[in-house]
């Protein structure tokens, strides 16, 4: 993006943005002090992105776990408002994100605009689910005895999300359902297109989303993902963005150590209307019994 502007304001030396990680509500560089070159669709330099290490992954899990207690304890109404606020702030930065998506993927302006709009709309859709999912997937159970019995969904915990290549819509599509239900997450952004992910992080950071609820790492999926998959304080693993079949299997095997809930990669039309499965994959059904008597 900076190149366009450089050409426009030939007299002025522009201030370029450093793209950092988003961990615990802050924007640190990688502890490894490494970065990698992000290029546009034609191979031109866009920016240096932080190349996250396993230790960044570890820190992100700590941040996500720390945030889980209060985020999951918020009322669903409040979580819905925060997710809706993300949509509002994203809407206000449509131009920037449209440009970033266009630069990253090479789609035309209309295509990029469409992806941003859909991302906003998707956030709005999920925001509305926050206080409805329990009504749709919960149950009052008519047990054969004098007991009150109620099943309701609860967030699984900390979910590691390997985001798909689609830099904004894909990212929103995998993150929104996870946090709407009260989970916190560590997202490994699309390796080739990490810049919209960091901009989305800036959106989230200014949208009342508590620090640590979403943590964004940029870098090599193959380097970070195994550490997240085997991390015993991670409860769920979304492999949506893993195209390598062998890596997906290895990650699923590693996830078995603490019996993480795993969403396997599967062909998916991100533009289509979502179903409930991205929310229901990372919730646990809790059933409470109580006697009925005087």
């Amino acid at each position: 993006m900076s190149r366009d502007r450089t050409r426009r304001d030939a007299d002025r030396i522009d201030v370029r943005k450093t793209y950092k990680l988003y961990v615990g509500g802050a924007f640190p560089r990688s502890e490894s002090a490494r970065s990698y070159e992000v290029t546009d669709a034609k191979g031109g330099f866009l920016a240096n992105a932080s190349l996250a290490s396993r230790k960044d992954g570890r820190d992100a899990v700590v941040a996500a776990r720390k945030a889980f207690g209060s985020w999951s304890a918020r009322t669903p109404y409040n979580r819905g408002q925060v997710v809706y606020r993300i949509a509002e702030v994203l809407e206000s930065r449509r131009d920037q994100l449209e440009r970033e998506v266009r630069e990253a993927t090479g789609v035309n302006a209309a295509g990029a605009r469409g992806e941003v709009d859909q991302a906003v709309d998707r956030l709005v859709w999920y925001a509305g689910w926050a206080d409805k999912l329990a009504q749709v997937v919960g149950n009052a159970n008519p047990v054969a005895g004098p007991y009150f019995n109620l099943s309701s969904p609860e967030p699984t915990g900390v979910v590691a999300v390997l985001a798909p290549a689609s830099p904004l819509l894909g990212l929103v599509s995998v993150v929104a359902p996870v946090i709407t239900t009260g989970n916190t997450c560590v997202v490994v952004a699309s390796q080739p297109h990490p810049l919209p992910a960091i901009t989305l992080a800036e959106v989230m950071a200014t949208a009342d989303l508590p620090g640590g609820v979403v943590n964004v790492l940029t870098g090599h999926q193959g380097e970070i993902a195994p550490w997240l998959a085997s991390h015993l304080d991670v409860d769920g693993l979304d492999l949506t963005g893993v195209d390598d079949v062998d890596l997906a299997r290895e990650l699923e095997v590693a996830a078995a150590d603490n019996l993480k809930r795993v969403r396997r990669p599967a062909p998916e039309d991100l533009a289509a209307d979502p179903r409930l499965d991205r929310m229901t994959r990372f919730v646990e059904t809790k059933t409470v019994w109580h006697p009925v008597g005087t």
Binding site: N139, A144, E252, N258, R275, D277, T285, H290
Partner: protein, 485 residues
């Protein structure tokens, strides 16, 4: 053999043995494949009565070829018959099975007690009625799936591996929903408790269930691995240890197979100072000594508020002194035999560790039979979170007692485990119950009760207690294709 409340009691309950004449035990049993009993190609094994160590029967073991034959039969039946059958017709078969289970309930209960060692009063009053109820419940779903919210397309062939603690009940939990949804099954019962599954196969024949819809393969762990690993199995359902659950999760990684796992637990039973104390003690006893503590959701950790700890312990000891340990066939037996030598050794070893680590061990003074596998109902006091008996699943009649001071501390200690299957809360304060229930990381929270099960009520764990739910509408999800959710 049985223990009387106090040595001085003049009221000595005379033996009240349930007759075994209702059971027609055969010398040997085959596999049930494609609607018929066939010889197994593996090395046959003997199943024992754990209360006497006497052999009950020789049972066939399925090898890879047997597993393949069973899966093929299940596939054929699923594609040609069962999967195509209208739900209302599938329902009728399941209702039939439920009825036959009720009709033959005495026989099933006695055989379960013989093979498993659990008290006849439990197999008679809990296990078998629950099994019939499970089939009744899911029978009714078969023609109503479009209302359940998970679509109506069956997954295909289900490979189901079940444990020895509730042989028939676990069979029902797995088979009933699978069949209701139009799947066929290959079921592997536990090595030490194969007999009631084979009797169930006979019930399937009596119900004229089409061949291949239910296949029962007996054998050891290897047979289970073959079932889970078979390429043409679409869905794996397992109940058992967390360690085997991990192996299964690894084995199916990267495949299209869907999995549900119902694994171990280390549930906390939390007693506040305002609890209905006699019911809390009763719930604690039921929570850990029901089924000899061979219960994944057993309340194996008693967390008691410090202000009432002595009081609760005194009542608990008094109550434990009235437990009758012994002949599982005696209708007055409360605690039966440990299911196997191997399990007895594990319980014995972990209890020894408890003592070595400095916890106070107590068990009521009761005579145990000379033959068979027995373990006295035991409590450990002065246990802390660091003790192995507070962390590891004993899967036996051993209770660890810990204390807490505040609700927050109770939640913290209860949740401080990689497991998350169940939890219990005892308090007369309603808002505290709900506060606790919200925070306990467990799939089932029993408030002012414990170890209650019902076919309408979902059951399953958080974290390393596994994933997926059995029971209720939720229990259908595992057996229907995901595309429509």
């Amino acid at each position: 053999m049985t223990h009387d409340p106090t040595p001085a009691s003049p009221f000595v309950y005379a033996p009240a043995p349930e007759s075994t004449s209702v059971v027609d035990l055969r010398a040997s049993y085959g596999l049930f494949v494609d609607g018929a009993f066939v010889d197994g190609r593996g090395e046959p094994f003997t199943t024992l009565n754990p209360a006497t160590e006497q052999p009950l029967a020789e049972v066939a073991a399925a090898d890879a070829a047997d597993v393949d034959a069973a899966v093929k039969a299940a596939r054929r039946a699923q594609e040609r018959v069962w999967g195509r059958m209208p739900g209302r017709e599938r329902a009728k078969y399941l209702f039939r099975i439920a009825r036959i289970i009720q009709e033959r309930s005495r026989e099933l209960a006695v055989l379960e007690t013989l093979d498993n060692g659990k008290p006849i009063k439990e197999s008679r009053d809990v296990d078998v009625p629950m099994v019939a109820a499970w089939f009744f419940y899911y029978a009714g779903w078969a023609d109503k799936l479009e209302h359940a919210g998970y679509g109506t397309t069956p997954v295909g062939v289900a490979g189901q591996v079940i444990p020895w603690n509730f042989p028939l009940m676990m069979l029902a939990w797995k088979v009933a929903p699978a069949l209701a949804c139009g799947n066929t099954v290959v079921l592997k019962p536990a090595e030490t408790t194969p007999l009631t599954a084979l009797l169930f196969a006979e019930i399937c024949q009596q119900a004229d269930l089409p061949a291949g819809v239910v296949n029962v393969l007996t054998g050891a762990g290897e047979t289970g691995r073959l079932v889970v690993g078979h390429d043409d199995v679409d869905k794996v359902a397992f109940t058992g240890s967390t360690e085997v659950g991990r192996q299964i999760a690894r084995a199916v990684a990267g495949t299209r197979k869907r999995v549900t796992l119902e694994l171990g637990g280390k549930a906390a039973n939390i007693v506040f100072d305002d609890a209905a104390i006699d019911q809390a003690v009763e719930g604690t006893v039921n929570g850990i000594f029901f089924n000899q503590g061979h219960v994944c959701c057993a309340g194996s950790r008693l967390l008691v508020q410090e202000s009432v700890a002595e009081e609760v312990l005194a009542r608990l000891r008094a109550r434990m002194s009235t437990l009758r340990v012994g002949d599982p066939l005696d209708k007055n037996t409360d605690v039966g035999a440990i299911n196997s030598r191997e399990q007895l050794d594990r319980i014995t070893a972990l209890a020894a560790v408890g003592e070595e680590e400095g916890a106070g061990r107590w068990a009521p003074d009761c005579d145990l039979p000379s033959a068979g596998y027995w373990f006295r109902p035991t409590i450990f006091t002065g246990v802390t979170q660091a003790h192995r008996i507070a962390r590891e699943e004993v899967f036996g009649p051993v209770l660890s007692v810990l204390t807490f001071r505040t609700p927050a501390e109770a939640v913290e200690k209860a949740n401080n485990t990689p497991y998350g299957l169940s939890a219990g809360v005892w308090t007369e304060k309603g808002s505290r119950i709900l506060w606790m229930a919200e925070r306990l990381r467990a799939g089932v929270v029993w408030a002012n009760t414990f170890n209650k099960f019902d076919p309408t009520s979902p059951f399953g764990g958080y974290q390393e207690s596994g994933y997926g739910r059995e029971g209720g509408r939720h229990g259908l999800a595992a057996y229907l294709q995901e595309e429509n959710r």
